[in-house]
Symmetry: C2
Subunit: 608 residues, 2 copies
């Protein structure tokens, strides 16, 4: 061993002990004829004192930042204690030292507030990983990993490894493929998830399975998507939705407790997908703050106290509202005193191409009971009051209204709500609010193919009372324009998403376990029986031999860690991430391969 | 929940409790007007009693083996207790039942002694996995996984995930590659091990890293090799070889204790590579039994009591021995009474092409002190005695002697020793003997390239006192026939293998952490400086910025589990293994992919 202790463990009671330490030079400070060096390792920082003779040696052969240093010496009490670090009561009176390795000057400073840009830090990721800010992210990730395994073990789950070289069955996302040299012309695929394997394990009777496992998707990368990502992947047999929700809110609460020392004792709220879309404009609402969306035009709003209908805004001569498919409002708390400039800036914000609105209407609900609006020439104060009430606005609130096509307007007001929540400090990264979103539609309509696509995946079961609807109806859509009248459009999935602070951190479903229902599902997705057998014959086969009812969930570990760490950037929680083009700039990968390798794989590149 | 209890948990004290169970029908036995069903799940088997009315129902709609059944009923004490199973004191008096899913008749019986052949069981792996014999293997694997994580966590190791889509740097084995759609013409590689990443993590100061991780090698598969396999991968900073050996024999002993309830308190023996080759004929000796190899011709045997030299066998007119490069002997304990037929059979055994010997000589050391040999017309009884003594034979032993070319003969006698150990019952699969083999040669000579190849891998350090030899000498070999005189041929690696019952279960080394030494290593392997920078520039770069001394080890999890499970077939310890052609016969993978996928990857197959 190059050391007797780490740089984080010495305390006052070690005084007068002879110790050997090894680590990295963090700082060097010379005071007259003596020098102080802060020595750093994973566990902490310890101050080293070099006396006169050794300082003379250092003058001849100076240390530099990030040098690897080994010292022997005596633990002594510091006259000038540092209460900011656990080792601050002591220092090492160095008797001898050895430079184990030198270091060039790092291309950026190894500090929390580094001067290194993103690209530079990615190229020298091994230096970036030295920074405390990155290290604590990876420590958090390990703590989440550890807590997950402990909880699931206590609950009788077994970690079972599933294969990485599997069969390509493109459904939804693109597979990464791996040419097989031993089976020329054929390819393996890397798993997008171990979905079918975990289902087979349920058929095999393993009852409770989990794995913390890499998955792969060859998608066009958006910011903060990685081609390889990690899932906490779980499956249980003989369960209904309620069992899964209980088991896995237990998991997340256990993680809160172990990793963040947070007692999350409150029950986890549940919301139907319909209510999420209705009140929050998206399927992963951030419920740390309210600011629910009011629908000023539809007659469907039943949940709130006020039934808002078109009457609120029609027949006032304001064509934009009258002609719009949808008119949606939110009440921004305490924002009635926004200046003209502030409101103009918000209007510009919703006009940005990413949001895509034409404009924005406001109603100020003043403290004195009066109303001021950008459309008060169309609407009487009485009307404005009714509209503001519909948006549940209180005195001092600012009602913001967007109008336009249904989907775009709903998305826009959802974004506006989140933006205002952010600006108003309602999205505290250290406050955690969990939510189950349930009762998703089983199918979405695909206009191009005039067919159904699975909203979750093709293995998700419909609600038990809708299985019959699914089995007894022909999935084909005779009249494209009337797809909403097809019985399949109303089938709800036995599926659930776990949402944390407005991010989907997990999702799953109760699965189909009956061959006939699974075949119907494949048919609904436009697969011929031959194609279904070719791609998923093993699963259909397995369902012949006593498949139990089962269901599961998968959590995105990268995302979960980033939210627990108080950010939404998953890259900071991955040791060696890839950039937005899927490149590892440190390795310089991907790269070309030898002609010989291509030949062994019987492949030719079509590129010049 | 479909059940209130599992099929493994009910005991006598549950009597009179109303319960709900779910599981698979293992057996159905009808006795007159009542029926007994054994219901099975992962946790055990519970007997169900169907009374007269329910039996009538069953007659109308018979159950079958592997049906998925849910029953409600009362726990009652059995009159006829079964002491073989933990639930044998009770049965369930069934009040109602529901068939959750039917099962076709399985293609083989779901029992320990199944009637299914290998191919059939692989095709229906999801049924094979139901067999208790397979289930207990996967349970053992999970227990090893769990014990490993616990021990390493206690020792401050951190699980850090390394990437799967990396850069192809073929050294030794072939990489599996993954075409990149977003970087046309370029490929990722799947890792053969996370070697360079774990080293970078040491440079980054993570101090103690581990991962239980899939690795990939595109090799021609021998029996019991898998293209994807799992490693327990570990690395430590600021350590010497001694530290690693202590840490990881601790790990394996912890696994013995947790998984097998074995207190392995004995110190783990250590043996140099040279002694392993000398006394056991291979670098992974099975030391559960002795039967050491005696070298009858070489003057180099110093370790044993007797110095054997050519004098023993030369000048006797037996040309085969005199002309042979090597003559090696073992003394088979208590085998002096082998019949002519038995000895002929052993002779045939060494003549098989896999062993490749021309013949075998024997000396019987009879109980009465006489000697009988197949070569007694050449050797006097005195000479035979001297030879038998050299082989450390006792009265009643049978000395077997092989002669021929050095490498083949050594391999052959090693195989013969293992075969006889097996036949004599000296290789008890429930006895576990660990061994560290140390001091491997750093290089092997590659005749084709007239260059050195790394015996372990290019990141292994030489012994500290040989670093200077390596740095100060030119690695190139001027005279191919005299490569043994090159100073590099005597350099020993700072490397170690852990051997369990004659199987290498782990291996590792102290790594190079100095850029100059690493560059010298790449040069020795025939890499130009440009090539080294292209392939491993990130690592050489990392060594510029304060790389600490470090080393590590990787255990083959599949192999370790199989030996702990008492077999040497790793496939039985993998949930979804591939066959010897690298195929998953259940999935039918690999398979062809769509033309569209090929086009997106800019690839064309050269096959018709």
């Amino acid at each position: 061993m190059f050391r007797s202790h780490t740089c984080g463990e010495l305390r006052l009671h070690h005084a007068n002990t002879e110790v050997k330490l090894a680590g990295w030079v963090q700082t060097i400070r010379k005071f007259g004829s003596i020098s102080f060096v802060d020595l750093r390792d994973r566990y902490g920082i310890t101050q080293l004192l070099f006396g006169e003779a050794l300082t003379t040696e250092l003058d001849a052969n100076p240390l530099g930042r990030e040098f690897v240093l080994q010292v022997s010496g005596t633990v002594t009490e510091r006259s000038n204690k540092n209460t900011n670090i656990p080792t601050g009561d002591i220092e090492i009176n160095v008797q001898s030292f050895q430079v184990l390795n030198k270091s060039a000057v790092p291309p950026f400073t190894i500090q929390d507030d580094t001067d290194g840009g993103d690209d530079l830090r990615m190229k020298y990721r091994y230096l970036d990983l030295r920074r405390h800010a990155v290290k604590k992210n990876l420590e958090l990730r390990y703590a989440v990993n550890r807590a997950t395994r402990d909880y699931l073990h206590q609950q009788d789950f077994m970690d079972i490894e599933t294969p990485f070289l599997i069969k390509s069955t493109p459904e939804g996302a693109r597979d990464f493929v791996v040419p097989s040299r031993m089976n020329p012309g054929e390819f393996y695929a890397l798993p997008q998830s171990p979905q079918t394997f975990k289902q087979l394990l349920m058929v095999s009777g393993y009852d409770r399975y989990y794995q913390i496992v890499k998955c792969f998707r060859d998608e066009d990368l958006r910011a903060d998507r990685q081609p390889e990502f990690t899932q906490i992947d779980c499956e249980m047999a003989f369960v209904e939705q309620e069992d899964i929700l209980n088991m896995f809110e237990g998991l997340v609460k256990y993680i809160f407790k172990e990793v963040k020392a947070i007692d999350y004792n409150a029950p986890v709220e549940r919301m139907t997908w319909e209510n999420a879309m209705w009140h929050f404009g998206n399927d992963k609402p951030d419920i740390r703050f309210d600011m629910k969306i009011a629908n000023l035009k539809s007659a469907f709003m039943k949940a709130g106290a006020i039934v808002a209908t078109g009457e609120l805004i029609n027949d006032a001569g304001f064509g934009i509202f009258e002609q719009a498919e949808t008119v949606l409002a939110i009440a921004v708390p305490g924002a009635a005193d926004y200046t003209r400039k502030q409101i103009d800036e918000l209007t510009d914000w919703v006009r940005r191409p990413q949001i895509g609105m034409q404009g924005m209407v406001y109603i100020k609900v003043n403290q004195d009971g009066t109303y001021k609006s950008s459309v008060d020439k169309f609407y009487s104060e009485e009307k404005l009051k009714t509209i503001a009430n519909a948006a549940l606005a209180a005195k001092g609130d600012l009602v913001l209204i967007l109008a336009g096509k249904e989907e775009r307007t709903r998305k826009a007001i959802s974004e506006l709500r989140l933006e205002l929540g952010q600006r108003l400090g309602l999205r505290n990264p250290q406050e955690f609010r969990l939510l189950w979103v349930v009762d998703f539609p089983l199918f979405e309509y695909d206009e191009d193919g005039n067919r159904w696509v699975a909203r979750h995946h093709p293995f998700t079961s419909p609600k038990p009372d809708q299985i019959e609807t699914m089995i007894s109806n022909d999935p084909s859509i005779a009249n494209a324009s009337e797809y909403l009248k097809h019985p399949y459009s109303n089938i709800k999935a036995n599926a659930y998403d776990m949402v944390l602070n407005g991010n989907e951190v997990g999702g799953g479903s109760i699965r189909i376990y009956q061959r006939a229902l699974q075949e119907k599902m494949f048919a609904a997705l436009g697969m011929s029986p031959e194609e279904a057998r070719h791609k998923f014959g093993f699963l259909l086969g397995a369902f012949e031999y006593g498949a139990p009812p089962h269901g599961g969930i998968a959590f995105g570990l990268d995302r979960l860690c980033s939210i627990l760490g108080g950010t939404e950037s998953i890259r900071d929680f991955i040791a060696f991430p890839k950039n937005n083009s899927g490149r590892d700039v440190m390795l310089d990968a991907p790269s070309t391969i030898d002609e010989k390798q291509m030949e062994e794989l019987h492949l030719v590149s079509k590129l010049k």
